[in-house]
């Protein structure tokens, strides 16, 4: 990918991470090196497993602290960055994606991982979800979907199923829930996957594919809130008598309609990659615009470019 040398700190820009020999040689960070604060989640919360698998991903893929950032919004799940011993930011409710976009676009040397909850990503941040997908910003988003507002203690979330009894719908949820997969596909996301925190190998596989995808990669990860929605995902967990149906082998991940249809399967639905296509990323598009303009200014120093503009304003 063409990088914008001007938005980047100098050396980092010159050497793409993957081909840097010093980087390739180093060992992956261990869980011990990656763990920061002890997570404040309730014992049994599904988010623990997502964190553990993120550590696994970083270790396996040998990502060091100078190569990635972990970004989140607000919610139980969004506490994530505090538990990772690395550069990170805990932003505001619903806005993790535009914040992460600012990093992804100005620092193509960094892997940008955003972590979010169903309320954070699909309700207050719903519009950003759509627009980040459409822009195809190069980053990964993992939404820990527990179908409830955890941090604020059991209100209806945009993915709560009809009839779910919350503190804001004592009689059961009445608003039609969002299908995040369908939303992502229809908004132009280029990588859409679904997993569940009770299947660690699957979570890791999805995270790896998401990380390798060039563009906006979105993983919906079912992650049980044992405090406020216990048993929500039992029917997707073979250990609880449910079924874990992978995306059928014959599914064509580049077929938008097939993906959309597959995403409509009633709960527990399928797990795996629903949709994956290659479309130029926002990063590439902007880099292209920059390259074109830089070619035109030739050897001029930056201040001389503005000087030329000023000369026309005389």
């Amino acid at each position: 990918m063409q990088m914008s040398t001007q938005t980047l700190p100098s050396e980092a820009a010159q050497t793409p991470v993957a081909v840097n020999p010093t980087v390739a040689e180093r060992k992956g960070l261990t869980k011990k090196e990656l763990a920061a604060d002890h997570p404040t989640w309730c014992p049994g919360c599904g988010d623990f497993s997502v964190l553990a698998l993120y550590f696994k991903l970083l270790e396996k893929r040998k990502l060091h602290q100078d190569q990635f950032v972990s970004i989140s919004g607000i919610g139980c799940s969004s506490r994530f960055p505090y538990f990772v011993q690395a550069h990170g930011a805990h932003f505001i409710h619903g806005r993790a994606l535009p914040f992460a976009t600012g990093i992804a676009l100005s620092r193509p040397d960094q892997h940008v991982f955003a972590f979010s909850g169903d309320g954070d990503a699909f309700s207050i941040g719903g519009n950003h979800f759509s627009h980040t997908a459409r822009k195809n910003v190069n980053m990964s988003l993992v939404v820990m979907d527990n179908q409830v507002y955890g941090l604020t203690k059991k209100q209806t979330s945009p993915t709560s199923p009809l009839g779910f009894k919350s503190k804001t719908d004592g009689w059961g949820a009445v608003d039609h829930p969002i299908n995040p997969l369908k939303q992502a596909i229809s908004m132009g996301a280029t990588f859409v996957a679904r997993t569940t925190s009770t299947n660690p190998n699957h979570v890791l596989a999805m995270m790896e594919q998401a990380m390798d995808h060039n563009g906006f990669s979105f993983i919906q990860c079912l992650s049980e809130c044992v405090e406020f929605y216990e048993g929500a995902f039992d029917s997707a967990n073979p250990r609880k008598g449910g079924v874990f149906n992978e995306v059928p082998k014959e599914h064509d991940v580049t077929d938008e309609f097939a993906a959309y249809q597959l995403a409509s399967t009633p709960f527990p639905g399928h797990f795996g990659v629903f949709y994956k296509v290659n479309r130029p990323t926002k990063n590439e598009k902007e880099a292209e615009i920059i390259a074109k303009h830089r070619a035109k200014v030739g050897e001029a120093k930056d201040w001389q470019i503005l000087q030329k503009t000023f000369d026309r304003l005389k």
Partner: protein, 604 residues
């Protein structure tokens, strides 16, 4: 138009030629007539002739066009405002004639398109009427049927004749303007111009000639405030921005979108203003300070993000081109009613920096100052401009770009250890370490909106909250001591001190000049640093009996405008009083003086 020495009357039919040091020309027509272009040419010419110039224009708030004006004040000496009254009114239609005749000084010249305007007897006694068949003469000159095309350039020729303007320079400006277009367009434009210039006024009107400029030998650039602000940000080293369109801020985002790629940067159009602020914060967090901006309602939407920047101590530039509010308000009119939201908007105790440029040139340098403060103090900085500065054109000495140019590329060299919120830091701030930096201790910072300990990890400790709150405040108190006390315009002691901020600086200075000329003891003070206020203002105020704060905002529930209320709260000084207005227009010098006199008399 201040005449200095009328030259000896020439012989025969030739009109009288008077020497003048400045002139105010108002052009009134419809927005599609290209009157902005006439104003633009005149401003450019002034810039190239080492003269000072200031323009004022109104934009119709509907896109389909409509009545519009452009006023140009050109002077051989200092030009501080767009002028209270016009010396010449150039009008294209009956409605422009009738609507703007009141802006002309008694005895002034109405230059009208005789094809469209019928003079009214009641005006004819007070104003000198000069009718020229502008429309038909233009068609005659350039041929074709293009009805209204070119009459602006024809009129420019008329003005050039009337004011004996430098023809060579104007021809060059016209050729430059249309360069790259079809050759016939340049030819037609020049033909229209020459036809206008060649028009013989006969004895219809006097002719004028500007005196030598007092600013010999300076190279000037000519632009509006939004351009100056955008270019200032680029010179300051900003390479990332994010925004959402809204008038009058949009010009800046359009300029940055267009220009930044040349410098390897980018400006992103977002889905809304919240995303814009969030994205700019993300880029700032990741490296060098980024910019977001808006006007009116869009500023309100950015407030939660602003609070995060303050709490997390991540720099950000927020440009606010103020317009009339609240809500959608008066989109194309000027107001200074965002001082409160800029200083206090967002929840919690959230100290931030607010700077207010006072003219077009100052927009350029304020942008640089804002970037440097944000970077050094790790804090969001507001640039409070307004619709009037944003759209007015001025000529100012060309900045030494090589000298002011900044490289603010972040330093990614590994560090041993890093405490992002170090409570023992001398002035309350540390050098920020950004993603990509290796930290040898293996302890990495989290940027956070939660109250936190020195590493950025959440805390519920009341003691830490008190300490961190004090830290965020103290660093700005350090800044307050650093910015220096503003300079008084006029003597440091006297009867009245007129205090202003932002775009009222020009008219206030002119009011001071005029009052002093009439023997009154009046000085002026412009405050550029709105938050934190600079130290030492109390010493300035103590030199005067009356401190009158002139603002384009409402007197509020308690009788004081937004800056006046802040100064009263800060200094508990009852002699601080307020002059306010919210008519959506800039202050005329006369308004300020009349209001000042009324206040002084009321007290007596």
């Amino acid at each position: 138009m201040s005449s200095t020495a009328p030259s000896a009357p020439a012989s025969g039919e030739a009109p009288k030629v008077s020497k003048i040091s400045e002139a105010v020309i108002r052009i009134a027509g419809n927005s599609q007539d290209g009157i902005q272009a006439i104003g633009g040419f005149l401003a450019r010419l002034a810039g190239r002739s080492e003269q000072e110039v200031m323009t004022f224009m109104t934009i119709p708030s509907t896109i389909s066009g409509g009545p519009s004006i452009f006023q140009v004040r050109i002077g051989s000496g200092e030009v501080l405002s767009a002028g209270d009254e016009a010396d010449v009114l150039l009008c294209f239609y009956q409605h422009s004639y009738e609507g703007h005749i009141n802006s002309l000084r008694k005895g002034g010249i109405v230059l009208f398109d005789a094809d469209h305007v019928t003079p009214k007897p009641e005006f004819e006694k007070d104003y000198r009427h000069v009718g020229v068949k502008i429309s038909s003469l233009t068609v005659e000159a350039i041929g074709g049927t293009a009805k209204d095309k070119g009459k602006n350039i024809f009129s420019l020729g008329l003005v050039a004749r009337m004011f004996d303007l430098n023809i060579t320079k104007l021809e060059k400006l016209i050729s430059e303007r249309f360069a790259g277009k079809d050759e016939s367009i340049v030819k037609n434009a020049l033909a229209a111009f020459h036809a206008g210039y060649g028009y013989s006024f006969g004895s219809l009107t006097d002719l004028f000639q500007f005196t030598e400029s007092q600013q010999q030998g300076r190279t000037q650039v000519v632009m509006n405030g939004n351009e100056a602000l955008a270019y200032g940000l680029i010179a300051a080293g900003v390479r990332f921005g994010a925004g959402y369109p809204i008038t009058p801020w949009s010009d800046i985002m359009e300029a940055l979108r267009r220009e930044l790629p040349k410098y390897g940067g980018m400006f992103i159009q977002c889905e809304d203003e919240i995303a814009s602020a969030a994205m700019a914060l993300g880029a700032s967090y990741a490296g060098r300070v980024a910019v977001t901006g808006s006007s009116g309602p869009g500023i309100a939407l950015k407030m939660e993000c602003l609070g995060w920047g303050i709490m997390a101590e991540v720099p950000l530039i927020v440009v606010d081109i103020q317009r009339g509010g609240p809500s959608t308000g008066m989109p194309t009119n000027v107001e200074q009613s965002d001082l409160n939201i800029a200083c206090y908007g967002s929840h919690g105790d959230a100290p931030r920096v607010v700077l207010a440029p006072s003219n077009v040139e100052d927009c350029f340098y304020t942008a640089i100052e804002a970037v440097n403060i944000a970077t050094k103090y790790n804090v969001p900085v507001f640039i409070l401009s307004d619709q009037a500065i944003a759209t007015r054109i001025e000529a100012f000495p060309e900045p030494d770009l090589q000298k002011v140019w900044q490289d603010i590329t972040p330093d990614l060299s590994p560090v041993q250890d890093h405490k992002p919120y170090d409570l023992s830091a001398a002035n309350g701030y540390v050098k920020r370490i950004v993603p990509g930096t290796k930290i040898a201790s293996g302890k990495y910072p989290v940027a956070t909106g939660l109250e936190h300990d020195e590493m950025g990890h959440p805390t519920g400790s009341p003691k830490l909250h008190a300490q961190m709150t004090a830290k965020r405040r103290k660093k700005l108190q350090v800044l307050a001591a650093e910015v220096g006390t503003p300079k008084i315009y006029g003597p440091p002691e006297g009867n009245v001190l007129l205090v202003g901020w932002g775009s009222t600086e020009g008219p206030i200075r002119e009011a001071v000049d005029r009052a002093r000329g009439a023997g009154d003891s009046v000085s002026g003070l412009n405050i550029r640093h709105i938050s934190p206020l600079p130290n030492g203002l109390e010493n300035i105020f103590s030199g005067f009996n009356h401190v009158l704060v002139v603002e384009m905002n409402d007197e509020g529930l308690y009788g004081y405008g937004q800056l006046a209320a802040m100064l009263r709260a800060r200094f508990c000084d009852p002699k601080i009083r307020a002059i306010n207005k919210v008519d959506g227009l800039t202050y005329k010098v006369k308004d300020i003086l009349d209001r000042m006199k009324a206040m002084l008399n009321a007290k007596a």
